[in-house]
């Protein structure tokens, strides 16, 4: 009997060694709890608040990447304690990509929140694919108001659920509330006005009754300014015409305030703006009496300032001013006919 026992034991021993490794695992597995239907963790959980400033209403974005294969029916966002939530109807949503994380794609089936209970907001969802990052925005600032105190580590969670509803995946997020999330930027641009007159001496040469004389080297007026609403240029003359002290005669300005074109043999005197160049965005307009452009065309000046050109908006312009004169056969001869024209300008800031 003892020998028989020995033979049986040898048989047991061989068997033990052949399965010993398996038994070692079995011994461990035997103490395991049965497999539990535990919720998974989202691979990525993301909530961006578009305002971090305390007590500010804010829109925002929710993104999540599922890790557990199931059929989602809803997603719940638990906002941090202290954040004030609007009614469910205020949680309108859209799927416009507003600087979403890389790979973010529109959350399928997302819709205006169906329920807000405490800090938990429930949105509808349809099935999500594991490994895809889904995003949506809540678009109404009235839905969420940042807590009234500044603090770090304001935590919440994102939870996907099936139709039971049972949790599929859940993960936390954290955000900050702060006294201000903005920087005010201010700037001043100083007023600038540059006014330049070139060729201030305009010699009309010898005047004859057979032709209309005009400036050979006309004066130009250049205006450079950042006056936002434009500028104006006025002119007047000293004698309301070309005056000769020696002849005590004046070739009178032709009908100041109106536009005219001088005719050879008929005494007259005027000034016309013959060209305008403008590098600004505004518009330059020559006053009607002083529109030039053809020989003898312009307006008469007198001793009162008369508007000759104006601009609206930013206009950096150069204008050419030509003086015209005509004499008749009876015009007194003299070599000292002269006039002094004063031109002034001002910006409208």
């Amino acid at each position: 009997m003892q020998l028989l026992s020995s033979i049986k034991l040898s048989t047991k021993k061989a068997s033990f060694y052949s399965v010993s490794a398996v038994m070692a695992f079995a011994a461990v597995v035997a103490v395991l709890q049965p497999g539990q239907a535990n919720a998974g963790a989202l691979s990525t959980a993301f909530v961006r608040f578009d305002r971090l400033q305390i007590s500010q209403q804010t829109t925002g974005t929710v993104c999540a990447k599922p890790s557990t294969a199931s059929t989602e029916a809803t997603v719940q966002v638990t906002f941090p304690t202290g954040y004030t939530l609007g009614l469910a109807a205020t949680f309108t949503v859209n799927t416009t990509n507003t600087a979403w994380p890389t790979g973010g794609t529109a959350w399928p089936g997302i819709a205006t929140a169906s329920n807000v209970t405490g800090q938990v907001v429930t949105f509808a969802s349809t099935d999500l694919v594991v490994g895809t990052l889904y995003c949506f925005n809540w678009a109404n600032p009235a839905a969420v108001t940042v807590k009234s105190s500044a603090s770090a580590n304001n935590s919440g969670t994102i939870t996907t659920r099936d139709s039971v509803p049972a949790t599929i995946d859940t993960s936390p997020f954290s955000t900050q509330s702060m006294t201000t999330d903005q920087i005010s930027v201010s700037a001043s641009i100083a007023q600038a006005f540059t006014f330049a007159l070139t060729n201030p001496s305009d010699n009309l040469g010898g005047l004859t009754s057979g032709s209309v004389s005009t400036s050979a080297t006309p004066a130009t007026v250049a205006v450079t300014t950042n006056a936002s609403t434009g500028w104006m240029i006025w002119a007047k003359d000293a004698s309301t015409g070309l005056n000769s002290p020696s002849a005590t005669n004046t070739i009178a300005s032709t009908t100041p305030g109106t536009n005219s074109t001088l005719v050879a043999g008929t005494e007259g005197y005027n000034m016309g703006v013959t060209s305008v160049t403008n590098s600004g965005s505004g518009t330059v307009t020559v006053a009607t009496p002083f529109v030039g452009g053809s020989l003898g065309k312009g307006g008469g000046l007198d001793t009162s300032l008369r508007l000759i050109t104006s601009a609206t908006g930013i206009a950096n312009a150069t204008m050419t001013l030509k003086n015209n004169a005509a004499v008749g056969t009876n015009t007194a001869a003299a070599t000292d006919y002269a006039d002094t024209i004063t031109v002034v300008g001002a910006g409208m800031f």
Partner: protein, 342 residues
């Protein structure tokens, strides 16, 4: 016949040159002996159950001729303040080089136990595939156990398997805790550390690149495993004057070349650890190059892992020309937010 059988059986009894053991028995495995470190009970025959002390377990049945030692406690840490992962470095002890190891982890002192899979995630089931070599578990650098709950204290312990026959029990446990998701974000300017934050172009002479008088520094300490971004947007997408009815539009440009413009330029990034904080184009220019600000969120800087005291500093530059109308009320509001991938 009976004699022949008896002789045959006798031939199988233990013998040596000098001795023959005429009778023997393995008994039933009763009785025990122990010290402070060992506990040994007869194990032959039908003895059932495992015997264990603090550091050793002796399964029922005949003890293997050679059993790999129980691994010492691993090094188990949360060095980077993670909320969903912990680092473990196996301590192989004196185990042979071909030893494989398995890792058990529990948040309730092993009332429930999960096992670390070779992809570093955890599962409730245990299989031979849970074993891998010391090198497979990252060697001296260890590995990160993923998918853990935040704000939770875990224990981890290691079992060894060497050859095909000898698996040890799990050894002593080490403890580590996950953190909670965290973020701390702040703003200051070079002029003040308390709001309101104002940055001013005291004057914008034409054809001159001008820098606003205050730079802005954003600091962040956060532990999102997937990193995050600092975003920026502008209220006016430029400097707007309501009285002049004009906006000096913001655009990405080299203001040294462009006739006029307005934008932001990051002058520096830094971090104590983690991250790193990286300036993002078009805000990462130099000289007079600026990134255009828009009314939509734009990425200003990013980091791809948890970051400790990360910072970025940016300035605002502008240039006007003679066509920009004069006004004293040009303004904009720059808003910053954070985008964290937990």
């Amino acid at each position: 016949m009976f004699r022949a059988v008896l002789l045959s059986l006798l031939a199988a009894v233990p013998t040596s040159t000098n001795y023959v053991l005429q009778t023997y028995d393995f008994g039933t495995g009763s009785g025990s002996g122990s010290s402070s470190n060992y506990n040994l009970r007869g194990t032959a025959g039908t003895a059932g159950g495992n015997l264990a002390s603090t550091t050793y377990t002796l399964p029922a049945g005949i003890e293997n001729s050679r059993t790999v030692g129980v691994p010492p406690a691993p090094t188990f840490t949360n060095a980077d303040n993670s909320y969903d992962r912990l680092k473990i470095v196996i301590n192989p002890g004196t185990a042979p080089s071909d030893t494989k190891f398995a890792i058990a982890i529990s948040s309730d002192n092993f009332v429930t136990t999960k096992y670390v899979k070779t992809d570093q995630t955890i599962a409730s089931t245990f299989a031979i595939s849970n074993y891998q070599s010391y090198a497979g578990w990252g060697g001296a650098s260890g590995i990160t156990i993923l998918g853990l709950a935040n704000g939770t204290t875990y224990k981890a312990k290691v079992a060894a398997l060497q050859g095909v026959n000898t698996g040890s029990a799990f050894g002593p446990a080490a403890t580590a805790s996950t953190s909670v998701p965290s973020v701390s974000f702040g703003l200051v300017t070079s002029l003040t550390s308390t709001p309101p934050f104002i940055s001013t172009f005291t004057s914008l002479p034409p054809n001159t690149v001008t820098t606003a008088n205050a730079t802005v520094t954003a600091t962040i300490t956060a532990n999102p495993e997937n990193g995050g971004k600092v975003l920026v947007k502008s209220q006016n997408a430029g400097l707007n004057s309501s009285t002049a009815g004009y906006t000096l539009t913001s655009a990405t440009a080299d203001l040294g070349v462009a006739a006029k413009g307005y934008g932001a330029q990051i002058s520096s990034t830094a971090q104590t650890s983690g991250g790193p904080m990286v300036a993002v184009s078009p805000f990462n220019g130099s000289g007079n190059a600026v990134g255009g600000l828009t009314t939509a969120w734009q990425e200003l800087a990013s980091f791809n892992s948890p970051i400790n005291t990360g910072s970025l500093t940016f300035g605002l530059l502008a240039k006007a020309d003679a066509n920009v109308p004069a006004a004293t009320n040009y303004s904009d509001v720059v808003t910053l937010t954070i985008s964290l991938l937990f």
